[in-house]
Symmetry: D3
Subunit: 73 residues, 6 copies
């Protein structure tokens, strides 16, 4: 009866604006399979929720992620 929340930055994907519906479906299938393989969890009661987070809302190293990447170069 697992619940999985996956947060990713809204970027990449086929047109640079975030994961495609197909990529999200792959994440859903993959993590559900993983929970079945490792812990025997029933897929029918495995929920997966994906959140796309705008780049300005994600920080690392004390900076918004885009600033962080510039400085890391």
């Amino acid at each position: 009866m697992p619940y999985v929340n996956i947060k990713v930055t809204r970027e990449g994907g086929p047109d640079g604006t975030g994961p495609s519906a197909e990529q999200k479906a792959q994440l859903i299938t993959g993590v559900t399979d993983l929970l079945q393989d490792v812990l025997g969890k029933n897929p029918a009661t495995t929920f997966v929720v994906i959140d796309e987070v705008p780049l300005e809302d994600w920080g690392v190293g004390g900076l918004p992620v885009q600033e962080y990447r510039k400085q890391a170069q």
Copy 2:
């Protein structure tokens, strides 16, 4: 001093695009009353946050929810 987070798929409601503001208000009132009735929690310090999740971002049974429903038919 409770904090409640309610996640629902973005669908249904008066025009099919998700719960209306009035329905959300009913959820807020209902869960706040529940916490007061069962645990004596003060409504003034009960926070409720509702998240509407796009259908392609919600998975169950290893599939995005719309695919899952098609297969379940």
Copy 3:
């Protein structure tokens, strides 16, 4: 297909150490009914997860909750 997370401070309940199993069951039933009544959500796909948070881990007004209550008196 809702997911509800309820966070409450670990206090109160029959012996002062937090909600009883029976009180938690009432929260689960109550919020599931609410989602069915307001949005027509199917209870079989409504998940509820309750977290009890130690008092020293909950802050309000810039203070741990117990300090806050002392000052509010």
Copy 4:
């Protein structure tokens, strides 16, 4: 290796539609510094995610926040 999630109502900021990118950057810097100062956490492994919540999705006192404020006046 901290993870911080900050949820605020979508309001205020320079044009009333929520915090500006600069204000969000200040939150990211401030909370990352705080975790370094108090607990010695490495900024490079401190993630901060900010969520802006529409006003109709935030409840307090059993009401959506805007209704609550009207009644509190």
Copy 5:
């Protein structure tokens, strides 16, 4: 720069008290690999947090999960 939270009921595992450390490591590896394979995410900035939830704190079908399973039989 993903963040993944996996919530499972505290049960099963080698001695019935929840997933073993080895099983958790498999979940961490598996979901990190998945995000690298599907979205090209860097494992070094992929965080995974696993929460074990006591059975009495998890509800489905309007009941604590153990009650729900009894009735589903």
Copy 6:
């Protein structure tokens, strides 16, 4: 009306078993002040919840954090 959740690994602090109550109080005060300074948020309606996560439940780089640190040396 902010809600802040801070997740840290359960380690460090005065006796190596995690942040002390005093350190947690400093986090609560610091992040509440930050939200007041940057966004003008009222401390009385700012909630902070701290979660200590066991080391085996936190993954980075595809490994539980302790394994990751060993390999990073």
